[in-house]
Symmetry: C2
Subunit: 332 residues, 2 copies
C-alpha cells in the first residue's frame, strides 16, 4: 500500500484540520498515512475522528516550525521538527511521499538539504496547477526560489512539462514564459536569457505568455521566477475572496437580488469548486530526489484529503525518471 | 479652461472609441480636448459623434506607434507620431495634460525623454488605483520600469503617498512594500534594501505587505517593481474575466440559476462597477515633469471619458510640487 507521511503540525488550522483530513482520506482512498508531530496532540484529535484503523500511524516529532519562523535557521536548529522528521522518513524510504501545509520555506529548505536536488537541477520549484477556461495550467515556480537564474527557468519548463505529460496525461505539453508582453524585445535580462535557453530545448515552447493567458489556458505550463509566481497565485486568491465578499454585500442590500442569489446557488457552487484551491490539494515540489507535496497554509480537512488524493496519483508515476530524461535531451 | 491632449490613435479600439469617449467627455465635463493623430481620420469619426463644438480641436500627427512596436526605437524614429506630438504639446505648455491608451512603453519613453524626470527622481512609475474591500489602493509601479533599484522603490512610495494625500484626500497615507511574506527576513535583495530606505523615510511606512493585502485594502499605497506590478494587475483582470465567463457557463446550463442570475443583475452591475478598470479611466505616470495619464490598451469610450474626468482632478492639484517636497523631506 502507498505510504504517505503527513505533517500534522503544519498549517494555520493544524493539527485539527490536518488530522480530520487524514481520517477522511483513509475512508476514501487506499493508502497508509503516517501522521508526523507531537504524538500526544495527534492522538487526542485522532480519537475524535472516524478513520480506518490500520491505515493511520503516528511518528512522534517533538518540535514545531511555526508558519513565520525563518526557514533555513529553523531547519538547522529544530532537528526534531515535524517537517524534518517527515522528510527523514522519506529519505530513508519508509514512506513514498511527504505532505506539509506548514512553513513553505522550511519544507523547501529541509527537502533540498536532506533529499538533495536531482543531478543537473540546481534549484527545486513549486508547481501549482490552476483552473482555467479551457485546460488546467501549471505555474512553476511559485516561491521555492526567489533568486532564479536563466537555467533554473529552463529546468522549471522541463519539470513542469514532465508533470503534465506523465501525471496529467497531456500530449506534448506546451510551455510558455511569463512576461509583460509577447514580443521578444520585452522583459528583464533574466527573461530574455531564459527565453533563448527554452527555445534551444526540445520542449514544446511557445514563447512569452502574459498573465492574461494563464486563465485563458493558452499553455499547459507557465514558467516564471518564484517571487512573481508567488504574487500571481496570492493575488488570484485574494481577488477571488474580495470579489465574492463585495458581491455578498451588494446582494444582501436588496430582496430581489437575494432571491436571485439563492436560485443561482448551484452555479456558484460549481464555479467555487473550479477555482477553489482546497479542491486542488497540494502542489508538488519538483526537482528534489523524493516526492514532496506542499499544501496551502490555510488548508482545511478537505484540502488535506484532496492533497492525499493528488499524492497517490503522484506516487504512481516515476516522474523523476522522466525529468532526468528531459535533462538528458538537452545535451543529446 | 483645462486643456487636455488625447492620443486619438492609441489603444486597441482607436480611433473610434477614443473619439467617442472624447465627445462624451465634452458633454459632461468642462474642459477642452485636443485630439492628436491623423487629422482626416479623426474628423471622419468626429462627425459621427455628438460633442460640444468649441471644446474639441484636432492636432495633426502623421505617424502611429503601434501597440507592439518596440518602445525606444519607435519614439526615436517616428518623430511625428501621435504620442510624440502629444507629449510635445505638453512640454510646450500648450496643454495641461496628455492621455494615451497606446503603447505604454513608448509613452513612458517619450515622456522621460522630452519632459524629463523631476529633479531627484531617476525613473518614473505608473500608479494604478485598484478597488478593495475598504478603501482604494494604489499599486506603483505597474510597468514603467522593469529594472528597479532600491531608491526607485523609495521614490514610488513618496510619489504614491503624495498622490493619495493631495488628490484622493487621504490623511497621512500608509505605504507598504509588496513582498511574499510579512517578515523582515523575506524577499529579494532589492526588497530588503528598499525596506531599509522606506523605514528611514518620513513616510507612514507599515513594512511588508502581501498580495492578499491589496484587495483587503490594508494600505493606501503598495510599492513594487514594475514587472511584478504589471503581472499583478493583469492577473486580476484576466481572473475576473475568466471567473465571470465560468459563472455564465454554469448559469446558462439550468433554468433556475438563470432566473436567479437575472434577479441578481443589479448586484452584479454594482460589483462590476467597483472592479471594472473602465471606471477608473487612467493611471498617472508619476515622476515626470508634466501630467501624463496612461489608459488601458483595451479602453472603450467610457474608459476614455472617465480618464478625462480623472485627468481634470489631476490637473487641479500641483502634485509635482508636493512630490518635490517629499523628496526634500528625505534630506531634511
Amino acid at each position: 500500500m502507498i505510504k504517505i507521511a503527513l505533517d500534522a503540525m503544519g498549517g494555520d488550522r493544524a493539527p485539527r484540520a490536518i488530522i480530520e483530513g487524514a481520517a477522511r482520506a483513509t475512508r476514501e482512498y487506499k493508502c497508509h498515512i503516517v501522521l508526523v508531530g507531537k504524538e500526544r496532540h495527534i492522538n487526542k484529535f485522532l480519537k475524535r475522528n472516524d478513520y480506518v484503523k490500520d491505515r493511520i500511524s503516528v511518528k512522534d516529532a517533538s518540535e514545531i516550525i511555526k508558519m513565520d519562523d525563518p526557514a533555513a535557521v529553523s531547519v538547522r536548529r529544530k532537528k526534531d521538527s515535524s517537517i524534518s522528521v517527515g522528510i527523514e522518513l522519506l529519505k530513508d524510504k519508509k514512506v513514498d511521499a511527504f505532505i506539509s501545509a506548514g512553513n513553505t520555506g522550511a519544507v523547501v529548505c529541509a527537502a533540498a538539504l536532506k533529499l538533495r536536488t536531482l543531478p543537473g537541477i540546481e534549484r527545486p520549484g513549486i508547481g501549482v496547477v490552476l483552473p482555467s477556461l479551457n485546460k488546467p495550467c501549471m505555474i512553476i515556480d511559485v516561491g521555492a526560489n526567489i533568486d532564479a537564474k536563466p537555467a533554473h527557468l529552463l529546468h522549471y519548463g522541463i519539470m513542469g512539462a514532465a508533470y503534465f505529460k506523465y501525471i496529467l496525461g497531456a500530449y506534448n505539453p506546451s510551455v510558455g514564459l511569463l512576461n509583460i508582453g509577447q514580443e521578444e524585445s520585452k522583459g528583464t535580462e533574466l527573461i530574455k536569457e531564459a527565453r533563448v535557453l527554452l527555445e534551444k530545448s526540445k520542449l514544446n515552447f511557445v514563447g512569452n505568455v502574459e498573465a492574461r493567458d494563464v486563465y485563458k489556458g493558452k499553455v499547459n505550463v507557465v514558467v516564471c521566477e518564484g517571487f512573481v509566481g508567488n504574487i500571481l497565485i496570492k493575488v488570484t486568491e485574494s481577488f477571488a475572496e474580495a470579489s465574492s465578499e463585495l458581491l455578498k454585500r451588494e446582494i444582501t442590500k436588496r430582496l430581489l437580488p437575494k432571491i436571485g442569489a439563492i436560485l443561482s446557488l448551484p452555479a456558484y457552487r460549481a464555479i467555487k469548486r473550479k477555482t477553489d484551491y482546497t479542491e486542488y490539494g497540494g502542489a508538488p515540489l519538483l526537482g528534489v530526489d523524493g516526492r514532496v507535496l506542499i499544501s496551502h497554509g490555510s488548508s482545511n480537512a478537505k484540502t488535506i484529503k484532496n492533497a492525499v488524493r493528488v499524492t497517490i496519483e503522484y506516487v504512481k508515476h516515476k516522474l523523476n525518471k522522466h525529468i532526468l530524461e528531459g535533462l538528458e535531451d538537452l545535451n543529446g
